[in-house]
Amino acid sequence: MTTTERFVGTTVLRKEDPELLTGQAGYIDNQTMPGMLWMALVRPPYVHGRLRSVDTSAAGEMPGVVGVYTAADLELGALPFVWPITEDIKVPVHYPLTADKIRFHGDAVAVVVAETRGQAKDAAEAVHADVEVLPAVTDLEEAMADGAPLIHEDLGSNAVVHWSHGGGGDQGVFDSAPVIVQERYTQPRLIPNPIEPRGCLAYGVPAQGEFTLMSATQIPHIVRATLGGVVGIPESKLRIVAPDVGGGFGSKLNVYAEEALALATAKATGRPVKWIEERHENFVATIHGRGVIHDCTLAGTPDGKILGLRFVEIADMGAYYQLLTPGIPELGGWVYMGPYDPEAYWYEFTGVLTNATPTDAYRGAGRPEATYVVERLVDAYARRIGMDPAEVRRKNLVPRFTEARTAISGLNVDSGDYHATFDRALEMAGYDDLRREQAERRQRGDVKQLGIGLSTYIEMCGLAPSNILGALRYAAGGWDACTVQCLPGGEVVLKIGTSPHGQGHVTTWAQIAADALGVTPDDVQVLHGDTSVSPLGMDTYGSRSVSVGATALYLALEKIKEKARTLAAHELEVAEDDLEFDRGTFSVKGAPDRARTIADLAASAWHAHAIPDGFEPNLEATAVFDPPNFTWPGGAHICVSEVDTETGAVEILRYVAVDDCGTVINPMIVEGQVHGGVAQGIAEALYEEAIYDEQGNLVTGSLTQYLVPGATEVPSLELDRTETPSTSNPLGVKGIGEAGTIAAPPAVVNSIVDALSHLGVSEVGKPATPERVWRAIQAARGGDR
């Protein structure tokens, strides 16, 4: 339908909802095929051990079993690792099945395929692995110590990579500044836990050597580019399909052993093979996030000017690298200045192997880790110099800028207005009133004290300019691609290289296309997540889909309009310059009833009966966009919490978030992303932590011990936005998927310390469980910890 209505910037209800609301979704576990086998992995119950032998004979005799395979049977290549961040990085080899050692709970020694799910599981339990148990290490500093058990003996050390930003400005300030604040902050491992676990289904045409892998993945294109070599299938004969995906948060931004094994066993048996991860497997076999320790230094003046920020980090890599592992702390390495403008900057990290699940991108990926320590440190500085933390931030926030400026970390920041978001957040929170109430509670010595936690942040999104990725030694580019087809009936089909898992891309992309072509979002069909449908793409992560993918869409729409203009001029017998274009209609200047709509032109370009010489039939265009720069959202979050000084219990009373993600396409979806991001940030601050015992066992290995918060543990948020358009793309968009997760943890933990600072508490740790908070209070009061 041709329409003059505008959709960008307005709430359009989601086109993807009906199937999800009625039980018609196509999640991986809903996919089935004739003759399909089930796959189960054999993961022996050891954390670290030398594999003497694997006996599959009993399993092979079990009912329904079609094949049992060890590493030697399948001869697979190593899993892909695509970000060797330094020249001298030590890279552990990571096979889909281990043949020499078990290095973490997720390591599998064999794989079974059988007629049913139950038969595969039963047979997997009948495989016997003879293992010489070795001492395990999961503590980062113990893993670095002399004599620590080596995870990979061939590498000679568990410390496998050291990356330094190299610094900026005069490093002398870290010795000479009048105020030096030094703190150590520890951030435990987190387990992403999308509610849908991973899973995949491999099938093919064995006679042609052609295979398809359906997988609950964020990255079908990257899987295709990297997995063929592992399993011996040429990329041209490999198709990857991401069906409806039930959440990812980075945990499905990877290329996993099970995907390779499903393909390999489908190839070996000539039958479809399906694997569905169980939650207990997800806890050990799907990547973890965070797991870092920072030694932090802030150099400043007594009157609140930040002169220098220095961070020395140890980062837990886990037992192997997954796709990006050491690249995650490096990503954070560019944002340790926060929204401030210090004169000196230093960042370095050491990556350490442990007997734990590999770490990789978890929502925010490096940037939450950075923002947490920067914002905690700024509060520590404010306490040291006796200044209000809001005043310290006001003094140091970079003033508004609408053209790109170079930050001390060396990258160009596209635009920002940090004072606007901060002032608005303080106003919404009623900051002065809150401080008054806090003072009154302190005066009265209330059991429940009030804390006000501030967090101002920036993030680096829109991954990424390909030339910068190349300079950072990442193996691929950062472009994305979109093809737009105008069908002769007036509908529009767009095929795009991004691949969502809950973010509402179908609706958002349809809004952009609808405005450009003068149709409604209902007229736009969005196709993605299938390498045969949209062969060019770099997928969805790093808040890149709108700023890179939708910009490719925008550019393809521009090409469509250009081509349509040529045809309209031909049909209306005027020069192209004599045409005006508005909401999908070309009309002759001064004669508006002489007009052609995009739908008219799509039809005439399709039947091609009377097109100009040299004009290619069909109204279709493809654009590939390689961003010239990252995008840099920013904002300010304020957490108001009440801390019970007798029990250590924390209750969040209010949470205010003012974010600037540039131009907004669909405010409802943007707010939903902030809600979910902040909830994960609050979870990180108060509840979630992967805990290992002395033997290296994951103690929090199920949802009964690992506290994913429920509806009573997350508050309703008070939100607002400012819009400072990005200068990195023509839409002015920046991305919003990770902002909440980046901003929230320091806001929450700062509020707790703020509530207790008059008692002498300066650190409570993360997550700030009642026990940790109570111990911090006791320690400050001079009691037992």
């Binding site: 209800l13 609301l21 009625t22 959440g247 509402g504 809600h675 949802l703 994913v708 429920g710 309703s716």
Partner: protein
Amino acid sequence: MTQVAVTVNGVAREADVEPRTLLVYFLRETLGLTGTNVGCDTSSCGACTVLLDGESVLSCTLLAAQADGREVTTIEGMASDGQMHPLQEAFHRNHGLQCGYCTPGMIMAATSFLAENPNPTEGEVREALEGNLCRCTGYQNIVRSILDAAGRMSGASA
């Protein structure tokens, strides 16, 4: 094998199943009703919530045999005559879902809850959802959806 006869979404269904078959796999694999999702193996996430004789239960924690002779309602049974249930409509209108994986369980839990408490407060809704985890939405719009549906449903019945 055990014979199980269950009325599912108003239709009588019978099948022979292994005695250890869980209700959720009976629904998903025997009957092909894949709208009910499996999210964990410890009865913690609530994704598999269905109604058994009108009350919400975790279908991963019941044997199919325990549903013998009883009525089960799944997400596929919520819409009628092509019209979504007021809860489904409210989740759509209030952006109460993102990836959608927890959504069927949320809607079934909310259906059972609103039958008991048609005019709940926000706090009561949050407590009623304690057994259902969502990783995408932060719950804010789920709570809003249920309150919206409650308002419309009690308005319609008044």
